[in-house]
């Protein structure tokens, strides 16, 4: 895990001081967040800048059956 993420994670965890989260805390949440970010790094996608607003919702609706032939 990178030092940067480790440091960021420590700061966030300290934010929850009243729960006594410290070095012995299960590192799973940190690891899971780290793995999620690495997965995104490995994805070859165009930048968000190029995505039209509501692209996902539009895609869903464009794929809906258009005619009786497409429906059951």
């Amino acid at each position: 895990m990178s030092d940067d993420l480790n440091q960021r994670a420590t700061c966030w965890l300290k934010d929850f001081q009243n729960l006594n989260i410290g070095p012995d805390q299960n590192r799973d949440p940190v690891q899971a967040a780290y793995q999620g970010c690495r997965l995104l790094d490995a994805t070859d996608a165009p930048p968000l800048f190029e995505t039209a607003p509501g692209a996902f919702e539009k895609c869903l609706h464009d794929l809906a059956p258009k005619s009786e032939a497409d429906s059951a």
Partner: protein
């Protein structure tokens, strides 16, 4: 009476084979005995339910749900009533609005009889609940009922209620449906209003029915689906008539089999179940076609988890700081992952969906009418084997359980979980059919054909 399906009991009620109060009395008796024994009941609405049963006149309303006792996952708010959402934190909080899905069922004359157990804040796929009751699987108490709609699935399976609503953000209708041998529909994102239902992840949450039969499921789905002014994310796409095409069979239809990801690493029994299911569909006249998955398909499970964690953490942030000790350890740990994910990465995860969905549609829906996939990799596991709480490595185990369900939440697609017999451990198993957006009617038609051929929807835990 309790062995009848929802559609059958509705017809019997209309034909005056028994009265509404008789039906309700029998249902309440079973909820109080079997339901409580299985830890399915959070609270019951006995007095009001009986009053409604006396007042309901099957002759007055033609709606098949009129006078039918239903019960739901304890996350659908009703004004003045507590919805604990499987938690300690909401155990005493009364709702100030009523969920649209409940209003639509009320309007149809269905009677809301009880609040059913669920996983804490809908964050869990096994059914374990560390702060409230863990529902039991009526087939075998040592095995998971699945989650997070654990009580809903188990109650329908145990024949203590005729149908129940659940929610599905990463598999929470389909996994319990699979584990308990019932039918569960995760609709298209935006198909069913989420107004006044407990939120977990707004980009992914869906609401759907769990029932014993496909017809029952289609009936409840049609009743709750459709645009709602109170939920601007609900779609105005017309709700199809799912019942009229239900018996059309599958001759001439095409069913996709994924070439990668979904059928890899499966337990032998699950592999055999899928193979047998495909043989049945071929015998019924469907064409089986192998379809390629988008290159990023394997990432959608983890990306779905990332979105759930982040949106969930945003909802729970204040409570995590002020009432952190009132969460179960796994719930808290999963939400903590969300607080550690940068917002920019979360937005990237959301943004990737339309590209992967377009590729999936290109590869799959251009060639087939629906795709098949398993729900779980293995036979229904035990509570003991999946009681990993927040132990080191739990994230990977949780992710593994939802490997086949989360991708379709991520892509917003409808998916119908169908019972497919029992595995060697005596527990139900099942598969899912994935369809085009807003094409739930196709899934019901395909599910019904399988159900008619196999009779698995009549499996009874006894």
């Amino acid at each position: 009476m309790h062995n009848l399906s929802l559609s059958e009991v509705s017809a019997a009620l209309r034909a005056k084979k028994f009265s509404g109060p008789e039906l309700m009395t029998n249902t309440l008796k079973r909820l109080n005995s079997i339901g409580r024994n299985l830890n399915l009941i959070v609270d019951m609405n006995e007095e009001d339910a009986l009053r409604q049963a006396k007042q309901a006149d099957p002759g007055k309303s033609r709606h098949p749900l009129n006078g039918i006792p239903l019960a739901h996952k304890d996350m659908f708010y009703r004004t003045g009533r507590i919805s604990a959402c499987g938690s300690k934190i909401l155990k005493t909080v009364k709702a100030t609005s009523t969920a649209t899905v409940l209003k639509r069922l009320d309007r149809a004359g269905a009677i809301d009889t009880a609040r059913l157990s669920m996983v804490e804040f809908a964050l869990g796929v096994t059914g374990h609940n560390d702060v409230a009751k863990t529902a039991h699987n009526p087939w075998h108490k040592d095995h998971i009922p699945g989650g997070s709609s654990s009580g809903s699935a188990a109650a329908v399976s145990a024949r203590v209620i005729y149908a129940a609503l659940g929610s599905d953000t990463g598999g929470s209708i389909r996994i319990p449906a699979c584990c308990t041998g019932v039918v569960g529909m995760k609709p298209t994102w935006g198909r069913v209003s989420r107004f006044a239902a407990m939120p977990l992840s707004a980009s992914l949450d869906t609401i759907g029915p769990l029932t014993r039969t496909v017809r029952d499921n289609a009936l409840v789905f049609e009743t709750i689906a459709g645009a709602d002014d109170n939920d601007p994310t609900s779609s105005r796409t017309p709700v199809p008539d799912c019942l009229s095409s239900l018996e059309n069979g599958v001759r001439g239809l095409k069913i996709g089999v994924p070439e990668s990801y979904f059928l890899h690493g499966l337990d032998r029994e699950i592999e055999n179940m899928i193979a047998h299911t495909l043989q049945i569909y071929q015998r019924l006249g469907a064409e089986i076609i192998h379809v390629e998955m988008p290159p990023d398909m394997a990432k959608t499970n983890a990306l779905n988890s990332l979105i759930i964690a982040t949106e969930g953490a945003a909802l729970h942030a204040k409570w995590m700081k002020t009432r952190g000790n009132d969460y179960g350890p796994q719930t808290f740990a999963r939400l903590l992952t969300g607080t550690l994910t940068p917002a920019t990465r979360y937005l990237e995860a959301l943004d990737l969906r339309h590209g992967i969905l377009a590729q999936f549609a290109d590869n799959v829906f251009s060639r087939v009418d629906a795709m098949i996939a398993p729900v779980l990799k293995t036979p229904t596991p035990t509570l003991k084997d999946t009681d990993f709480g927040d132990k080191p490595g739990f994230s990977d185990l949780v992710r593994d359980l939802g490997f086949a369900t989360r991708p379709f939440n991520y892509l917003g697609l409808p998916a119908l979980s169908m019972p497919a017999g029992l595995t060697e451990n005596g527990l139900p198993t099942g598969f899912q059919l994935i369809g085009r957006p807003f094409n739930e009617d196709m899934l019901y038609r395909m599910g019904r054909a399988y159900e008619r051929e196999t009779g698995y929807c009549d499996m009874d835990p006894g």
